[in-house]
């Protein structure tokens, strides 16, 4: 640490310039920016895949793509969005904000931080590049269930290696965040005085460290089943295909919370700012986050109710899953109570935050309905589930990311984001989001399976509606790009405390935040 800091002890940036600056940087702000740019590029790539899927599903029959390629698209859309867009975007926020929020000069392991980021572009290249090898990308679904994943071509191997690399990156990033938060808080900032965003990320980082190796194990077993004659997942050799699902979902369910807990953190920063009132129930927020994280390890088999587990198994996982509704409910109630009798204004970050609470809660309700094992058996692997997880991942994670981006853009760029463009982005996003995904509930209930390129005629009109919404939603995201570019290039000058009600150490440093901040730790009273 000391050595790294003494290289550029004062003021602004002194290292290499141009491309080399970005390749060699150990600065948390530079690395945070790279994470955010990377995740946005991946978001657009995954979006193009989604729109191709929706184009094929616009009407019954095969028009745009063939079934084999369609399956590649659904698989890669999932992998790219989860591992390329959502997760790195939250790590980008962590990099930028955690040191600023706890009054640290940088992340604890600055060089490792650089390495965590620079692992991602090669991983993404492997993943996207797999489209162009013989046989194309993996088409086994983002869950990569064996034995289907054992049948795939070399695109599957590339996806496995990409997942390995991204897993290494995530684990290093997570260790960095844990160490930074535990060791580098400003004097006086006790754990229970820490901003909630840091708390949610601390808990998320522990989840990452716990489950990313599990995923690595699962895909490695697929790899050895494919090439080295093992039969972990083949009954003929004494293995069990369902074991893959247990291992995968032991990773997969905590993964869901990895993608939503930091979102809770962002929302918990924004609501008090624009309500001009302290967060209601800070301590219960921390406990609720921790409860969700702990419970997330005991609910994985609710993804597997149709595999035919014993009744006792179904009941255990059903009860455990229902229990998660309690801490999640506490969070929603706390946010609403924070807004209650506040003095609210609705700038773009607040719009996205309120939109998040509203739409995410709908995803929470469908999650509760899916938790009921007999109902889940009806809707599992249908469009109902597709609707459910897009309500929590798009209206949840993605909207929180947008809220956070508009909220902290003044600190990152020194300019206030254009409110007109931001509001246009919000209203287009929330309207088109609902046009896209709300009809999917009906499709799923009425019996349309997911991951199919063509469907029976009774599903035609809702699919057309969803496709129209999807194109609207996709195009709306270009508004975000415009808002960010405009904000970077100019605009109203942002004050150190860019928003009237904002509290916290990040608002005590100038906007834009200088290259080095808190070289002397502030004291928190």
């Amino acid at each position: 640490m000391a050595a790294v800091m003494s290289d550029h002890a004062h003021g602004d940036h002194h290292g290499p310039t141009g491309l080399m600056r970005w390749i060699t940087t150990t600065n948390h702000k530079d690395i945070g920016t790279m994470y955010l740019v990377f995740s946005f590029i991946m978001f657009l790539s995954g979006g193009v895949m989604a729109l191709t899927i929706r184009a094929e599903l616009f009407q019954p029959g095969l028009q745009v793509v063939q079934p084999e390629f369609f399956n590649q698209l659904t698989t890669m859309h999932g992998l790219v969005m989860v591992f390329g867009a959502i997760m790195p975007a939250f790590v980008g926020f962590a990099n930028w904000q955690i040191p600023l929020m706890i009054g640290a000069c940088d992340m604890a392991f600055a060089r490792m931080n650089n390495w965590s980021f620079w692992l991602l572009p090669p991983a993404a290249t492997l993943l996207i590049g797999s489209f162009f090898v013989p046989g194309g990308a993996t088409a086994a679904g983002w869950t990569l269930y064996a034995p289907l994943s054992v049948q795939m071509g070399m695109g599957m191997d590339m996806a496995i290696f990409a997942i390995h690399i991204m897993g290494v990156s995530s684990i290093m990033g997570a260790i960095n965040i844990v160490v930074t938060i535990l060791n580098m808080r400003a004097p006086g900032m006790t754990m229970m005085k820490m901003p909630l965003f840091c708390w949610t990320w601390l808990i998320t980082a522990y989840l990452l460290i716990a489950v990313m190796p599990v995923l690595a194990g699962a895909v490695t077993m697929v790899l050895t089943d494919r090439h080295f004659g093992t039969s972990f997942f083949s009954a003929a050799g004494g293995g069990d295909p369902v074991m893959y699902q247990h291992i995968f979902w032991f990773f997969g369910h905590p993964e869901v919370y990895i993608m939503i807990l930091p979102a809770f953190g962002i929302i918990s920063q924004i609501i008090p700012t624009f309500a001009r009132k302290p967060l209601f129930g800070y301590a219960s927020m921390v406990y609720a986050t921790a409860s969700i994280a702990i419970l997330s390890f005991s609910v994985w088999a609710h993804h597997m109710f149709t595999t035919g587990m014993p009744a006792v198994g179904q009941l255990f996982f059903m009860y455990a899953t229902m229990l998660i509704a309690v801490p999640t409910g506490v969070k929603v109630f706390n946010w609403v109570a924070t807004m209650w009798r506040g003095s609210m204004t609705f700038e773009t970050p607040m719009l996205f935050a309120v939109g998040f609470i509203f739409v995410f809660t709908m995803g929470g309700f469908t999650g509760l309905i899916c938790a009921i094992a007999p109902i889940d058996i009806q809707v599992q692997d249908t469009y109902y589930v597709v609707a459910h997880f897009h309500y929590v991942l798009v209206a949840g994670s993605l909207f929180a990311l947008f809220a956070g981006a508009y909220y902290w853009l003044p600190k990152w760029t020194g300019h206030m984001p254009d409110e007109r463009i931001g509001k246009l982005h919000f209203w287009c996003s929330i309207v088109f989001f609902n046009i896209t995904f709300f009809p999917m509930h009906f499709l799923g209930l009425a019996g349309m399976p997911r991951r199919i390129p063509d469907y029976a005629l009774q599903f035609a009109d809702f699919n057309m509606l969803a496709s129209i919404g999807a194109f609207g939603f996709g195009l709306s995201q270009l508004i975000f790009l415009a808002a960010v570019v405009k904000c970077v290039r100019g605009g109203e000058k942002a004050a150190a405390r860019a928003w009237e009600g904002a509290e916290g150490l990040e608002w005590t440093v100038p906007s834009p935040a200088p290259h080095h901040t808190f070289e002397e730790a502030p004291v928190v009273k």
Binding site: P241, V242, M322, V336, I369, I372, L457
Partner: protein, 375 residues
């Protein structure tokens, strides 16, 4: 926009008129079994509870959004905790959850009770079709393969789509009304899932393992479903069709099926003419092989190899018979020995060896297949 507003009206109607619920496309399919009815009612109950909570929570939130605005002169209060309220909104949800868990538990236990069936049918998932074996009860010994019967031209938009587009099969499952039917599921290659929404049955079919589920359908009729687990290229093209018929009709169906099977067995015992083999082989190919190897025999390499000019097809007949009978483990090539009769296999092999640019002139007889099976 017309579309959107029509849906908005329909959704509104659904929420206001319970009578419309039963036949609407906005809800679960009309239940045809007791279990499906329980699931249907449980879902309605859950939806109402969620709607109730939704209205309260967002009533409060939007009240605040409208009234507690800075622009309306609202001044922020300073409270930030209240132990009593926080305990209440932790405990009350737990009580609501207990209320939800009770009926769900009952249904789970009932769904799992597959004891004492009248008829047991094994459903085997293949890429991409279902095989059925009637294992126990009336009709024991009947076995057949059930393929999508929607013509390819409809999928490709070269013909108008029929009413049951993609949810129709050549050989439906037939069961008598009012009898407890136990379905055993398994698979030959990858995981499939046997799903019939109106029966409330969805059971994964897992290669190498047997799972079970059951249903008792009282209403005669045709019920349709799909494979519900991604199983490769044609996952969207392996529907399930079940005909629930009267006891008399079922007995007649069993007799017809058994007669047809006896005829097929005798077909395997005689010598076939070359032209007859090629003609029958073309039908077998169209039903079982064309999805992967394609009508032009060129396949979709590398996953699905071509047969036209293939070394296996043009090589020693015994080699090809071996592949067709036993499949290629680890690939979608199924072991057709378990699926097709000797005559079917002999015909389709003869067909592939004498179509496209393949001109071996050889006729493969059912007796050769029977001999190869014996090895």
């Amino acid at each position: 926009m017309g579309l959107a507003s029509r849906h908005a009206v329909a959704v509104f109607l659904m929420l206001t008129s319970p009578a419309l619920l039963a036949q609407s496309r906005y809800n679960l399919q009309p239940p045809a079994t007791g279990i499906a009815a329980q699931i249907y009612d449980m879902h309605t109950l859950m939806l109402l509870i969620c709607l109730f909570i939704f209205v309260i929570v967002f009533g409060v939130m939007f009240w605040a959004v409208i009234h507690h605005r800075k622009s309306k002169g609202a001044v922020a209060a300073h409270f930030h905790e209240n132990t009593a309220v926080e305990i209440a909104w932790t405990v009350i949800p737990i009580l609501i959850l207990l209320g939800m868990a009770w009926p769900a538990t009952r249904t789970v236990l009932e769904m799992k009770d597959t004891r004492d069936p009248d008829i047991t049918i094994k459903a085997t998932g293949y890429q991409w079709k279902w095989g059925y074996d009637y294992l126990q009860g009336e009709g024991q010994g009947i076995r057949f393969v059930s393929n999508l019967s929607t013509p390819r031209e409809q999928v490709e938009g070269k013909a108008a789509k029929g009413e049951h587009y993609l949810v129709e099969v050549d050989n439906p499952v037939v069961v008598p009304a009012g009898k407890k039917i136990r379905v055993l599921t398994t698979a030959a290659d990858v995981i499939h899932s046997w799903w019939l929404p109106a029966f409330g049955v969805k059971q994964d079919a897992i290669p190498g393992f047997i799972r079970d589920a059951w249903f008792r359908a009282d209403q005669e009729g045709v019920y349709r479903g799909n494979c519900a687990e991604l199983c490769g290229k044609d996952h969207g093209f392996m529907p399930i069709e079940v005909h629930v018929v009267s006891q008399e009709a079922y007995t007649k169906w069993v007799a017809d099926r058994q007669a047809a099977m006896a005829a097929a067995a005798s077909a395997g015992a005689r010598e076939w003419a070359f032209a007859e083999l090629v003609e029958h082989g073309a039908k077998v190919f169209a039903a079982n092989c064309v999805a992967c190897h394609q009508a032009d025999g060129k396949g979709l390499p590398p996953a699905f190899p071509p047969l036209d000019g293939s070394k296996v097809v043009l090589g020693d007949a015994a080699g090809q018979i071996e592949v067709v009978l036993k499949g290629r483990p680890g690939t979608p090539m199924a072991a057709f020995g378990a699926l097709l009769s000797d005559a079917d296999i002999a015909a389709v092999i003869t067909y592939t060896r004498n179509t496209w640019s393949n001109k071996t002139g050889e006729a493969i007889q059912p007796s050769q297949i029977a001999a190869a099976r014996g090895k």
